[in-house]
Amino acid sequence: MMNPLPLSLAMARRHAGISAVFVVLIALAVGIGAAITAQERALRAGGAQAADAFDLIVAAPSSQTDLLLRVVFLQSGSVELITGEPLRALMAEPRAAFVAPIGFGDSLNGDPVVGTIAALVNRLSGGDVAEGRVFAVPTEAIVGWDSPLHIGDNFRAAHGHGAEAELDGTQHGQALTVVGRMRPTGSPWDRAVVVPIEFTWMVHNLGTGHGADWDGTTIGPPFDLLTMPGIPAAVVAPDSLAAAYGLRNAYRTADTMAFFPAEVLVQLYDLLGDVRAMMSVLAIATEVLLIAAVLAGLLILMQLYRQRFAVLRALGASRTYVFAVAWSFGFGLIALGSVLGLAVAAALSGTVSSLLSEASGIALSSSIGWTEVSLALALAAAGALLALLPAALLYRRPVVEALRNT
């Protein structure tokens, strides 16, 4: 049999405009559908990566999701404090490698200033810092990987966040010096300025966290459990896997709540999965409608071509050849559109990821995976089947009738 490709390519050239429109429409439909699944995967991975170093979060009873947003994603908002006996028990917890109090409330040029202890900085930074060192006295700070500050910079933190900080205009009197930079965490902590919790307490007139005989420079635990102020949250690093579950249980009481970031993420991801499923249904419905439209277009095109095909047949081309030309033309458009759709999906989800990363501080890297490739393959396979229809119509049409009936 003769090769049908030159003729179907010639058809594509002859109708370059309409062929291009078909391909672009299919590419866009596949691209949007595939970008949705790729983006959802990037969000899941980015969220989990960001929360990875936060073993167990203990706080006063409230919404776990709110606390996760505050502690891991450094969103501003108000939080109840853990105080009194529950706080003392928590700070003296023997099963923890460390209990890191977290203090919020300040910002610097829109970036959060967070108070905590050196152990948490080391944990978030993956064991050691990228540059310089961790703070060692109350007036030193270490910045996140993406912070515009440099080692040696001096600054004053502003009270509050964003518009509140600008309106308020209050700057804390005590200046801080940057002494180090953390390794990337993939979380909004990469933009943060991290200071000793004593600094946060002192500038808010909450005391020092240490007893009356404190030397004024030694920072971190042990704190004076009788005078230390209430804390909005603590990150607790268990000394073993078993201790993690024991601690989670021990601090789920009337006065405190304890949770793993993973358990909140699982619930958020369920929701995200539902949204993705709904959007995927819409995207698939769009693809089906589009294929139907393309198919109708092909039928009309083949209708226009029926006389020329009849001439081919009269010249001695086989039915199979005519069938192969018509089929390869239809399938070619759908297959090309599907493949280009993957490129559209990669560009689309790459753009959305970088916009979301910029807005949220969560490192997102989207990639086109097997799910998206199989979506495109499924569509191309459906195209291979659907393209049989116009091909079969031409195949079955008697030559004489087609020649006469123009």
């Binding site: 989990a48 929360a51 990875d52 896997l241 078993a242 993690a244 579950y245 024991g246 249980n249």
Partner: protein
């Protein structure tokens, strides 16, 4: 109530400690009370997770192992987040301290690998828990929807 006779009878036949079902979905063994055990619905051959609440009025006990006639294998697992991937990990025996302790979807669970038949919502399966002090206890576990986060009767 309807299961207490069957359970007592099973206790006589086996070496298991006599488990008493004082109320529906509440079981006792020694100083331990096991409340509202539940398992997520699953297709035949799939893995699923079971959860329960423990009240321990005695000294700390240890949950050594779990056996599930309906599953190919069963083990004690915990939720983990490792390298950005959320999953479960086998944790081995777990201490049940004095007071309340819960196995719930955010922490510890009992993983049933490869259930022999589909677990339909509203039906029950049996699990046998082995404790260091309280011994073995067989509990009836209510099947809840596959996406449930808690027992539907839990307070």
């Amino acid at each position: 109530m309807r299961n207490s006779f069957a359970l007592a009878f099973a206790g006589l036949l086996s070496t298991a400690a006599l488990a008493q079902e004082t109320d529906e979905h509440v079981f006792t063994a020694g100083a331990l009370t096991i409340e509202h055990p539940w398992v997520r619905a699953a297709q035949a051959g799939a893995d699923t997770l079971a959860f329960a609440e423990f009240i321990n009025t005695g000294p700390a006990d240890t949950l050594l192992s779990v056996a599930a006639p309906v599953a190919a294998a069963a083990e004690i697992v915990g939720l983990t987040l490792e390298g950005g991937v959320i999953g479960t990990v086998a944790v081995g025996p777990v201490e049940i301290p004095t007071g309340a302790f819960s196995f719930d979807p955010g922490g510890l669970g009992l993983m049933l690998h490869g259930v022999a038949e589909a677990l339909a919502v509203g039906t029950e399966i049996e699990l046998t828990l082995s404790f260091a002090i309280a011994g073995e206890v067989t509990i009836h576990v209510l099947v809840e929807p596959a996406n449930a986060m808690a027992h539907s009767h839990a307070h």
